[in-house]
């Protein structure tokens, strides 16, 4: 009897647990709508982002106005690296950039509020302050990548076309994993937010430069420990059919996706143990 009654009392659609996909759509949708409401502020922020990317690239452009090649690459080739790196970082920053502010949430005790909600914490933090201004970097990166590829004489084969789509996504996954690991570290080092910047923003800095400029120990560190050279530099070597320096032969341009999977396993484990380690600091 009891069995059949339970079967009859089917939950109404409103009570049914929401699927993860629906949750993602609802959370991100609400953030996007709330930000689109303030048009002037949004446009100003967007312009600021475009300007930042512009000044960052100006640094490389000024250097290449003095010398013909930097790390064995000409200006259009460096622009491909920069555009690809900016695109990957833009996507990662849009989705995972907010994890950087985790220490503030820990210190203010805001994290407890997130923990009691029946939504994965990483998803909440990621969507909490989703800043659409970060689209600026993605748009500039994409435009720069397309323009630079055309100038640098990109002659696509089917494999190259696959790589040009895959590389920004794999790069974004690698940098997103770095953001997540940097966030997880803050569970132990609440005041050590800047420590994490060496890996996230430092990784981005390395990713947007020709990897050959770095001395061998630094190049090894930013390939094997922090896989930043695999985000944009080695894919560019493969796309433009260039010879890589020591440690980074051309075929390493295809390593982005497998490395992204590996680093996300590490990041997920680190995040989980960070959340378990957390004992609360707020009132």
């Amino acid at each position: 009897m009891a069995e059949s009654r339970r079967l009859q009392a089917r939950p109404s659609p409103a009570d049914r647990p929401v699927s993860l996909l629906r949750m993602v759509a609802t959370l991100y949708g609400s953030r996007i709508r709330s930000q689109a409401a303030f048009r002037a502020s949004f446009l100003m922020d967007l312009l600021g982002q475009v300007l930042i990317v512009g000044t960052e690239f100006l640094e490389l452009w000024v250097i290449l106005s003095q010398v013909d090649v930097l790390g064995g690459m000409t200006l259009p080739q460096v622009a491909v690296v920069y555009g690809l790196g900016a695109l990957a970082f833009g996507i990662a920053d849009l989705l995972f950039g907010e994890i950087d502010g985790l220490s503030t949430a820990i210190r203010s005790g805001k994290l407890e509020t997130l923990m009691v909600r029946p939504v994965p914490m990483l998803l909440q933090i990621s969507s909490l302050d989703l800043s659409l201004r970060r689209l600026g970097r993605i748009v500039v990166g994409l435009a720069m990548l397309a323009t630079a590829l055309a100038i640098a004489g990109f002659s696509p084969t089917p494999a190259h076309l696959l790589l040009v789509v895959l590389a920004p996504l794999a790069g974004a996954a690698i940098l997103g994993a770095l953001f997540t690991m940097a966030g997880a570290m803050q569970f132990w080092l609440v005041d050590g937010r800047e420590f994490a910047n060496a890996f996230t923003y430092g990784g981005n800095y390395v990713a947007t430069n020709p990897g050959a400029v770095f001395p061998l120990p630094l190049r090894a560190f930013f390939t094997f420990v922090i896989p930043a050279t695999l985000v944009a530099y080695t894919p560019t070597l493969a796309l433009l059919d260039l010879t890589g320096p020591a440690l980074l032969p051309q075929w390493t341009g295809w390593l982005g996706a497998p490395v992204a999977i590996l680093i996300w396993i590490v990041a997920a484990l680190l995040w989980r143990s960070g959340v378990r380690h957390y004992t609360g600091a707020g009132g």
Binding site: G48, V62, F195
Partner: protein, 264 residues
């Protein structure tokens, strides 16, 4: 003057309590220094060992002095005053027996003194070990160099304060801060030496207060300028400090008049 000194000391002590943050800052600063030095040194070796007056050792010195100044001049901008305006806490500041500009300048000096010692010197040591650096040997260069550092901190403080004070009229100042820091990082000569800019850009840059914030103290302390050549640069710093003080004061006065704080 006694109160001013006490606030400087208190601000210094306040920042000296953030130990983990300081160690983290030194680490990150050193990693970025290494990345920046690698890029510049690669360019110089391609150019044949010298690029517009910079050889490898001078370029490395330029990078590490820049990394040392990054924290004290707060190159990424501050938000505190703008937030105090938006939250209405500025009313409390204005009621204090010490003038608003003097109060915030005293706090800035204490903060910057700590940041210079704790976050500036360790990356210089890292640089000296890994890439080598060259510093002047005569006491006069050091004296003028340190004066240029204090003035650079002052000019950067005033310009940043002016950006913050626009909060009296703007509901959201973040966009402006972002644009300001982007321009400042480039034109101050922090990212690359101003001497490497195209000629038109050099002329434009020299007409702004930005080189007084980074390039001048670096040139003075890296021995690129003799003490006699440093003096006019220091004069330019003093002039910009004076102009910006008047600007900040006028903005503050106009803002205070239009300020309306709710509650109490």
């Amino acid at each position: 003057m006694l109160a001013f000194g006490r606030i400087v000391a208190a601000s210094f002590r306040q920042y000296s309590t953030y130990r983990v943050a300081t160690v983290a800052g030194v680490f990150t600063n050193s990693i970025f220094g290494l990345i920046r030095a690698s890029i510049l040194l690669a360019a110089i070796s391609t150019a044949g060992g010298e690029l517009r007056g910079y050889d490898a050792l001078q370029a490395a010195t330029y990078v590490w002095l820049g990394q040392a100044l990054l924290a004290p001049i707060e190159a990424f901008g501050t938000r505190e005053v703008a937030e105090r305006v938006h939250e209405g806490d500025i009313a409390v500041d204005l009621l204090r027996p010490m003038g608003f500009l003097r109060l915030h300048y005293a706090r800035k000096l204490g903060r910057s003194a700590f940041l210079l010692l704790a976050r500036g010197i360790p990356p210089m040591l890292v640089g000296a070990l890994l890439t080598g650096i060259t510093l002047p040997t005569d006491p006069l260069s050091w004296l003028l160099g340190l004066l240029a550092v204090v003035l650079a901190i002052t000019v950067a403080f005033l310009a940043d304060l002016i950006v913050n004070l626009t909060a009296f009229w703007l509901v959201q100042t973040r966009g402006l801060t972002v644009v300001y820091t982007a321009v400042m990082n480039l034109l101050s000569g922090f990212l690359i030496p101003i001497a490497w800019f195209p000629d038109q850009l050099i002329a434009l840059t020299r007409a702004t207060p930005f080189p007084a914030m980074v390039q001048t103290p670096i040139d003075a302390l890296s021995g690129r300028l003799t003490p006699l050549e440093t003096l006019p640069q220091v004069g330019i710093q003093v002039a910009w400090a004076a102009v910006l003080t008047v600007g900040a004061w006028l903005l503050l006065r106009a803002g205070t008049r239009s300020l309306e704080v709710q509650g109490g």
